[in-house]
Every structure is written in C-alpha cells, then in structure tokens.
C-alpha cells in the first residue's frame, strides 16, 4: 500500500524530533516495503570513501526497521556491499542505467570523486573505468541524487588539505540537477532512511544553503547538548572525562549543524559529546580542515567572560575574531575556496 503524498508531507514536517521513527514506523515500513516490491531502480555507488556510511546504515538502523531496510537494500539495482546479484548482471545494470536503457529513480553516491585513475570501478573492454565517469553518466540519468556522507557531500577527509587526489563533492560532478547532501562521518542511519523515504515518494525534502535537509541539520549540536547547562554556567571540562562543557577542549558543537543530541547514535546508546568527545563538526563543509582542525586541544584558554556565547573561533583556532553567527557562516564556506590555495596536487 502506498501512502499518500499528503500523509508523507505530514511526516516530513515533524522529522525534526528524534521520536519520529517510533511514531511513523508503520508508514516508513510501508514505503520501503513498497519500494522493495515495486520496480524502483536505485543505484548505490562507492568512490573515495571507507564504507563507514554503508556500515552505519546497516548496523545502526532502528530495530523496528532493520528487516524492511535490509529487504530494500537487497532489492537495490546496484549496491556493492550487500547485493547478491551476480557480477555480470551487476555490471550490466550499471551500464544499462548509464546508457538510459533502464530508468534510474535514485542515485546514491557514497564517497568523494577523485580524479581519473585514483579510483576506478570495473573494466570495460579491458580499460579501467574511472569512478568519476560512472558518477557523471548515472547522475545525468537519475531522477534524484543523494550524496551520502561528508566525502560525497563536501569532499570530507580524502579532500583534506592538500587534497592529494583532487577529490570533489558529487555536486561538482553532477551540476545539472540538485544533489541532496547527507553529510556526517558517517551520517546517522535515520537521516538516510528518512530522506530516502521522502525521495522514494517523489518528495524533495526542504534543504538548507548547503543542500542538507533542514529537518536534520537545522539546529546546532550545541543547542541541544546535554552539557549546555554547564556552558551557560561557565563551567568547562579540563579533561575529557570531566562532566562539564567540552567547549574549551575544542568542541565544535556551536558551529556544527546536526541533531545528534536529540536522536543519539547506535540505537540510543550514546553520542559524541555525551561520551566526552568534543564535536568535530563532521557535517560541515570545512571538515577536516581549519577552522575545524585542530580537532581538539588540551590547552585551557582564558576563562570566558560573562558575555556569552563565547566566540567559537577562539577554540577553532582561527585568527579572525568573529561573532558566533558570523563564525558559523565562515565554517560553512564551500571547499572550493580552500582548494585554490592547495599546496601540492598529484598529477596522473
């Protein structure tokens, strides 16, 4: 049974709460069941990445959804991690979709796109096929494109300065249509599942200026952090094990947009700042470079004055003193700016 567009918009409207999956489990189940049973073509490619996004979605999904998500994943037209289809059939599916012989509903790209032979997938006529070529050809055919994880969305760790393999985000390769970015290292499985649930219904979620669904990336980690009270009282941890705010140990929560504190990870087990780990802002375009790096620091900076919020850029190590809002914007700058100043690039 297919749920109506109206129902689904209702679902999308409340995506912000961590509990949405519990309230809407049956609706979400219906969507994925329908997608698994119907003739929906979804291709999931892997490029310059470490497969953490795939692992996250498989192991961390809500227990009530694991079975339908597994069925859905097994029904994907192409998914290198889990599909049981045989090689010849698998490659033909990629070729058929790339040539337009079969329609492609959703293209999911996990990983950044490095230059040419730094990453190849398969051979055609004895020649290795650059990953970039698959992304370009399949992207041109896909109705919806999802860039899964920080590497696909913004370049991520493999694009870290000096970006040795010229890794680019999917949106720089597929320029003719919108790319939905789901950054995170890895993204929360719920973000992926709920976004796909939208897209499978033909609904594009509302996006922020970095093309991330507002529902998941609308608030800062800081706003909902369990240590926020300490911050407001001006009490700061001096070592990671202390219960106080991690701000002065390098936490980037104030400039990181993600709802980790309300959703929690690994089926409600924990999240970074709750576990004493300063937020690394892994969902932001600048990750893993300045001002987000160095990621943490043991140095205790000057105690904050009564003027809150403290300028996060002091912690982030940026020379520019900016107000919190301005600093957030700075951290959000697209990578392409940084790349112009890249020190050294490998040539092929």
């Amino acid at each position: 049974m297919k749920i109506t567009r109206r129902d689904f918009l209702k679902l999308s409207a409340v995506l912000t709460t961590g509990a949405v999956i519990e309230y809407y489990t049956s609706d979400i189940r219906k969507i994925f069941k329908a997608a698994a049973q119907q003739d929906v073509n979804v291709i999931w490619l892997q490029g310059s990445q470490d497969s953490g996004c795939t692992i996250s979605m498989l192991q961390g999904a809500n227990p009530d959804l694991v079975d339908v998500i597994t069925d859905f994943r097994l029904s994907l037209t192409y998914q290198p991690s889990i599909m049981i289809a045989e090689g010849e059939e698998a490659l033909n599916r990629l070729k058929d979709a790339a040539s337009g012989n079969t329609p492609l509903d959703v293209l999911i790209v996990e990983g950044g796109v490095p230059e040419g032979y730094f990453c190849t997938v398969g051979e055609i006529g004895g020649d290795p096929v650059p990953f970039e070529q698959w992304v370009k050809q399949l992207g041109a055919r896909a109705s919806h494109v999802v860039a899964l994880g920080s590497c696909a969305a913004f370049g991520g760790i493999p694009s870290g300065d000096p970006n040795p393999t010229n890794v680019r985000p999917v949106s720089e390769i597929i320029t003719e249509k919108p790319v939905i970015n789901l950054p995170g290292c890895p993204p929360h499985p719920d973000w992926v599942i709920l976004t796909l649930a939208n897209v499978l219904q033909g609904i594009s979620p509302e996006l922020d200026e970095n093309n991330r669904p507002k529902a998941f990336y609308g608030k800062t980690v800081h706003e909902a952090c369990s240590r926020l009270g300490y911050y407001e009282m001006g009490q700061f941890a001096e070592s990671f094990e202390d219960p106080e705010c991690l701000f002065r140990l390098g936490c980037k929560g104030p400039i990181s947009h993600g709802e980790c504190p309300s959703r929690l990870w690994n089926n409600g087990t924990n999240m970074c700042t709750l576990g004493g780990v300063p937020c690394r802002a892994c969902v932001e375009p600048a990750f893993p470079d300045p001002p987000l790096s160095p990621f943490y620091s043991w140095e205790i900076i000057e105690p904050p004055t009564s003027e809150f919020p403290v300028d996060p850029m002091i912690v982030a190590g940026a020379a520019t003193a900016a107000v919190a809002a301005g600093a957030g914007a700075y951290a959000l700058q697209r990578r392409s700016k940084k790349k112009a100043g890249a020190k050294k690039k490998n040539r092929l």
Binding site: S48, S51, G52, G87, A90, C119, P128, I157, N163, F240
Partner: protein, 463 residues
C-alpha cells in the same frame, strides 16, 4: 595457451580491489593484486597538528576504524613518552575485541558465506539470515563500542593520552550483558561454520600463500602493558615451522611494482609520503600495477590476519598438509571469536569506575613515535615524525598492505598472489577457487565479484 581473467571489483576488501590471474591448463600460473583507489591519507596528515592524526587515520577504514584511532593514539603517546592509565588500556582492549568479533562475523558470514553452501547464504534465505543471524550480534558489538566512543562507525573517543569516557559500574554490567547475548549467538553460529569446514576437505587444498606469518600482538594486560609476554595475542613471527621474535626495524616497503616513484617506500620510520606515479614502468620495462606498496619483513613475504595471530600465539595449528589454506584462514577466524568472547570479561574486570581514563598529552616539539597493534584483519603499524609541533611524516602499514601487496624487486609475489598461484581450477565455468582464496584473507565489505575474460564478461561463481 594461457587465458587472462580479471576479477574487478573485488569489493569485499576495504577500498577497491582488482585481481588478474593467468590460467594455463586449468592451473593459475600468475596473479596480480591491484589496488584501484588511492586517497593519500599520509599526504593529508603532513603539516597538521599531531592530535588530528587519530581522527584522520580513522577514515582509512569504515569497518575497523576503531583500530586506526587506537593505534594512532598509541603512536602519539609513544612519541610523547607518556603511558595512559589502566582504564584506557582496558577500554581500548574492549573496543578492539568488539571490533574484531564484529569484523570476523562479517567476514565469515556476510562476505565468505555466500561463496559456500553455508546457512543458505547467497540464495533466497539471504535476507532472513542477514536479519536474524548476522546483524543482531554485530549491532551489539557496535553498541559496546559506542558505550565508550559516543557513536560508531568512527568512535573518536580514543585520544592521545587515553580515552574520554569514565567507566561506571553500570558500564561494566551493560557490556557483560551484551557480551552474553553475543556469546549465545556465536554458540548458535559456530557449529554450523566449523562443521561445514570439517566436511569440506577440498578447502584445505588451495589458497596456501607464503606460510610466513606475522603478528604484532594485541590486548596487553592493562596493568602491565609494556610487557609483551602479557599480550593475549602474542607478538612474533612464524616462519619455516618455527616461531621467533619480531623486530620492527626489519620492515621495509618495496614500491617496485607500485604506482609510486622509486623514491617512495623504505623503512616506515623514515620513508617519505608516497609520491604517485600512475602507470610507472619498472627498471626492466615492466608495468607497475597497483596503488598498494609491498611491505616485506627481512625481505620476505609475510601473511597477516587472524590465522597469523592464532598460530603465533599458539592457539592454532594449520590442518592443511600444505601449511595453510582457505580452510585454515576461515577456521582460525571463527575460533578467534570464541577466544575473544572468553577474554572480554578480563578487560571488563580491569575497568576501574571513578578512576581516570586519560593523562595529559602535550605535543612534543620534535619526536618520533611508533605503534604496533592488530586490526581484525592483522598487523597494523603507525609511524609518526613530529617537527615544530607539526606532523612531518606519517606512515601507516595496514594488514591489507601485507596481504594484498604486489611483487617486489626480488620478484616475490604478495601473499594473496602466492595463494592464488598454483591453484588448480576444478570447474572452468565456475572458478570458485579464485574468489574463495581472495576472500579467505578477510576482504572487507560484501559485494559481488565479476570476471572479465579478454574484455568479455563471464558468469561469476554460481551460488
């Protein structure tokens, strides 16, 4: 007349892998292991604050990310000359144990499984097996890691100096409860796996490899971590039927057949970050063929992984008359899960609620550090050099580098290549020996394998 077969992609290995074999009279006479992704993580690290290294190196692998984070933290602690508290060692042992149980289950069931008529993996029962048998214990492993690490994959709680989360009495109970559930699942799964392997003697006949094994050792006694004899899995090598001491100075990376300049490579403590040179020709005019380097120990080829760990630690003796085989690799990997389930309560008992988990780490002005550890798939080493409080060199040698290494200057093939060469193909239409051998080295993510013959694809193994 020989035929060339290309298996690309062999995705169940972290990153991208391609394997090319030459077959003559139904026998593999040559093999090439080809890494098809280069990311340059070591280049990205140069010039950074050393404390960034655990987070950056974590992204080397999305399956055993914990291992890199821990090894990198040890490496920085070694450079700074500090020793983290007992709690940190206990937590790292627990995280590593959970990671290895997770990864071994993944390898045996989800990756190797479909190549065998095991559990109905690979047929229409696949989804059900995945949901009911494979995923539940793996989720528990991840929850144990997230208990300390905040989230997983990429837990990020192992920092230079120790760990970030203080254990409580409740933490101990919660881990043991999850462990007992994992144990229950393992007791259900293990007889099927081991029984299957015992019933299929042909699996002892191929996939032999170099018969030299290296284990860096792992799981130190948290109270006495510097004593190598306290390691639960021992450090050492096993070669020509004998066990001997391991010396880190004898590792050398050969790049003769790698797509890097000849200036790259060398001893990991000294070598420069690799300089890419795609399609390089060797001095004899042959084509280099991979992004992987070839680590060698005393100039010889060594295999890393659970089989190496189990042999070096005296927990396992290969049953194949050839000294190693596909059977032995999977068998040892399955038995290792049992050893780890036995060991986990030891580390849990060393957790000291309320006591510190980290010591202060200060970035040294200039220093060198090394850390040797065992990833689920085998020997893992990190080397750092710090100058002016920044990283000036960083080297990582992964177990995959050992196992999937190419030929070296002495024309010795890497372990996977050696394990393939000499293999007799029983069925021309269904060359299952090839992928079974590759996957027995614990390739990483589940995928499909396709074979291309002179540009024309052939049907891969039928399942």
């Amino acid at each position: 007349m020989s035929e060339t077969f290309v298996v690309d992609p062999v995705t169940r290995l972290e990153g991208h892998l391609k394997v090319k074999v030459e077959i003559e009279n139904d026998k593999i006479v040559d093999a090439q292991c080809i890494g098809t992704l280069y990311r340059g993580i070591e280049q990205i690290l140069v010039g950074r604050d050393p404390r960034d290294a655990p987070v950056i190196t974590c992204a080397i692998c999305g399956v055993c990310h914990e291992t890199h984070q821990i090894t990198s933290s040890f490496c920085l602690e070694n450079a700074a000359g500090i020793r983290p508290p007992v709690n940190a060692y206990a937590i790292r042992n627990i995280i590593e144990t959970a990671t290895t149980i997770y990864s071994n289950l993944l390898s045996i069931l989800a990756l190797c499984g479909p190549d065998y008529d095991l559990y109905g993996l690979g047929n229409d029962k696949w989804a059900q097996v995945l949901k009911e048998v494979i995923i539940p214990p793996q989720r528990l492993c991840h929850q144990i890691i997230a208990t300390f690490g905040g989230k997983t994959p990429h837990h990020w709680s192992s920092v230079p100096g120790g760990e970030t989360k203080k254990p409580t009495a409740e933490t101990r109970t919660s881990i043991l409860t999850k462990l007992s559930q994992i144990k229950e699942a393992y007791e259900h799964i293990a007889p099927t796996i081991l029984g299957y392997l015992d019933d299929h003697q042909d699996l002892k006949e191929y996939g032999v490899g170099p018969k030299n094994f290296v284990s860096y050792g792992v799981y130190p006694d948290p109270e006495n971590p510097e004593d190598e004899d306290s390691f639960y899995f021992k450090r050492g090598i096993f070669s020509k039927g004998e066990r001997s001491e391991f010396n880190v100075d004898w590792i050398n990376e050969d790049v003769t057949y790698s797509w890097y300049t000849d200036e790259s490579g060398g001893n990991p403590a000294e070598e420069i970050p690799p300089e890419p040179q795609y399609d390089k020709l060797t001095s004899t005019g042959e084509r280099a063929y991979t992004w992987a380097k070839a680590p060698r120990y005393k100039g010889e080829v060594f295999e890393a992984g659970p089989l190496a760990r189990m042999i070096v630690s005296g927990f396992y003796t290969p049953k194949s008359q050839h000294g190693a085989s596909v059977h032995d690799r999977i068998y040892a990997r399955a038995l290792e899960i049992g050893k780890l389930i036995e060991a986990m309560p030891i580390w849990v008992s060393k957790l000291k609620p309320g006591e510190p988990t980290s010591t202060k780490f200060e970035v040294p002005t200039s220093a060198s550090g090394v850390a040797l550890w065992e990833a689920p798939r085998g020997a893992l080493g990190h080397w750092i050099k710090i100058e002016d409080e920044k990283i000036s060199r960083y080297q990582v040698i992964t177990p995959t580098a050992w196992n999937c290494s190419p030929k070296d200057s002495n024309l010795q093939n890497g372990p996977v290549e050696q394990a393939l060469i000499g293999t007799q193909i029983a069925d021309r239409e269904n060359k299952k020996e090839i992928v079974r051998t590759i996957r027995s080295f614990d390739p990483c993510l589940a995928c499909t394998v396709h074979m291309i013959r002179d540009g024309k694809e052939l049907k891969p193994i039928s399942i």
